[in-house]
């Protein structure tokens, strides 16, 4: 249980490195977690050969949702979109280094859901993106 709020998560929540917006951007997507109203927007810049050159997230929510967004953004800069598409639930849990129950899992996976919906160019984010 204590792991849930280990220092790295509190640190990324309080002092995120990648909070903000990108203007201009190539991809932008936003969504809410209807259970708690957490909100995440992710902006990406992508090179002609499909590599993420820069990324930012913005929004509000609990420490888990905001820290996982910051860690996720950090992990995808410099990566090809094809690799981003392969990210899943396990990738995010690995970044956080914790285990989560079903309710908090939704908080942790919101940023990945938003990211993948943007990368795939979807109208609406679906939970199936992060399974």
């Amino acid at each position: 249980m204590d792991d849930l709020y280990r220092e790295v998560i509190i640190e990324h929540y309080k002092n995120p490195s990648y909070r903000g917006k990108l203007d201009p951007h190539d991809i932008s997507f936003a969504d809410n977690n209807p259970l708690c109203g957490d909100h995440i927007q992710i902006d990406l810049r992508v090179s002609p050969d499909g590599v993420v050159t820069d990324a930012r997230f913005d929004g509000h929510g609990c420490a888990i949702s905001q820290a996982s967004a910051d860690l996720l953004i950090e992990s995808i800069i410099g990566k090809p979109l094809e690799e981003v598409k392969k990210l899943n639930k396990e990738s995010v849990l690995e970044l956080l280094g914790i285990e989560l129950g079903p309710v908090r899992l939704k908080c942790a996976l919101l940023s990945l859901k938003v990211l993948k919906a943007g990368v795939y160019g979807l109208q609406e984010a679906s939970d199936s993106l992060v399974e």
Partner: protein, 415 residues
């Protein structure tokens, strides 16, 4: 944990023995501190045993069987209805319709009375402090029927703006539907007065009593509401059963709700005749064991005395608001203790309510975090979510102290 000189209205030492779950250690050395009764109340042994006993001894389907168990089950089911009717001082048990919960009770009115009586353009008055269960059925009817909705505003103090209510009533509403007690702010609305004014304006009144019936003495004949909805599980009873109370003439004039067994007097291949009250609205095999448990829950509350319960909760709530207010960064929502029930919704500066609730859980403290099914109300106050501690007949001041200490721990972690 409890001292004998604790100046409580109720005997908390004895009462807590009635609730086995309150003794649970969630983890070694971490005992449950349950402050989430507004979501659902814990159940006393009497209720648990009555339901267990029903399944062990009396289980049978009701109303049509003639064998011993069927008679016994029917008697238990109907006796519970009698006691519930008495508990809310209804004139007759026939006015007590069993439903699944408050939500279904409200939907019953929306699907039967409202669809039979409301035309496009008819005005329904709600309030800004409603639970989603008293908003969405009317949104659905608005989309289907073109009825008009308007809302009694909530003031910054968390009270209904009754001046605006008066002006809304001048617009000839057909229905006024409001919560007796807010599940977020705790506000106890002046229901009797609001009902009187609505009747003067010619409107029918539906009251959401999910939070009031468990905590206050409610008297149907004194209140004079046309419909009143509540759930067993928030008043020490089981989940899966609730009540719609209605005035007899209204209930009789309404079309039935769900069709099926038990709600009919006679069925032909191409037609049916509806049963009399209350069975007309109870299609299919109902929650029988739950009704038995509900009856015992009502007995339990009656034995303690609703006035004593309300007084105890008031004392706890007053103490909780006082202690919470002292914590730097805590912001409380809702009116002062004299105008509300046992609910303390708050935000803690710089920490999301989910994180507050999760960290409190490490000390075994159960509070709720989120919008508590009242998103529009949270929008009104410009916040996405709150943490909510709620208090019932089994909660103590010591538990409030544990909550306060827990919040200081949260502050330290996010400091």
């Amino acid at each position: 944990m409890f001292t004998s000189n604790d100046p409580m209205t109720l005997n908390l030492i004895e009462i807590r023995k009635d609730f086995p779950i309150l003794d649970r250690e969630l983890r070694p050395g971490v005992r449950l501190t349950y402050l989430d009764t507004t979501a659902t109340a814990q159940k006393p042994l009497a209720v648990i045993n009555a339901m267990d006993d029903f399944y062990r001894r009396s289980n049978a389907n009701i109303h049509r069987g003639v064998h011993t168990l069927a008679e016994e089950a029917t008697t238990l089911y109907e006796n519970a209805r009698e006691r519930i009717a008495k508990f809310i001082n209804a004139e007759s048990a026939r006015q007590v319709i069993y439903t699944r919960n408050t939500t279904e009770s409200i939907n019953l009115v929306a699907y039967t009375w409202a669809r039979a009586n409301l035309k496009p353009g008819d005005l329904v008055i709600l309030t800004e402090m409603e639970h989603h269960s008293n908003l969405v059925p009317w949104h659905m009817l608005q989309a289907e029927r073109g009825i008009e909705l308007d809302f009694i505003p909530v003031t910054q103090d968390g009270l209904l703006d009754l001046v605006t209510y008066g002006m809304l009533l001048e617009r000839n509403p057909k229905l006024v539907s409001f919560t007796h007690m807010s599940n977020v702010l705790g506000t106890i609305n002046p229901a009797a007065e609001m009902i009187r004014l609505a009747h003067e304006a010619g409107a029918i009144v539906l009251v959401d009593g999910a939070q009031s019936v468990p905590h206050l003495k409610v008297d149907m004949q004194a209140l004079d509401a046309d419909f009143y909805a509540f759930s067993a599980h928030k008043m020490c009873g089981p989940t899966g059963i609730g009540v719609l109370y209605g005035k007899t003439a209204l209930l009789e004039s309404m079309p039935p709700f769900l069709g099926g067994g038990d709600m009919i007097k006679e069925v032909k291949l191409r037609s049916f005749r509806a049963n009399t009250l209350p069975h007309k609205f109870e299609a299919g095999t109902p929650a029988i064991a739950e009704a038995v448990g509900f009856g015992v829950a009502v007995d339990y509350l009656t034995n303690l005395g609703m006035d004593n319960i309300a007084a105890h909760e008031h004392e706890i709530t007053e103490y909780a608001l006082e202690r919470l207010e002292e914590i730097p960064g805590v912001k409380l929502f809702g009116p002062s203790a004299d105008k509300k029930g046992g609910v303390a919704s708050f935000t803690l500066e710089g920490v999301h309510p989910h994180d507050v609730a999760q960290i409190l859980d490490r000390d075994g403290i159960a509070v709720r975090a989120g919008h508590h099914c009242a998103q529009p109300l949270h929008e009104k106050f410009g916040i996405p979510a709150t943490s909510r501690a709620s208090f019932y007949l089994y909660n103590t001041k010591e538990e409030v102290d544990l909550l306060v200490n827990g919040i200081y721990t949260v502050k330290k972690m996010f400091g």
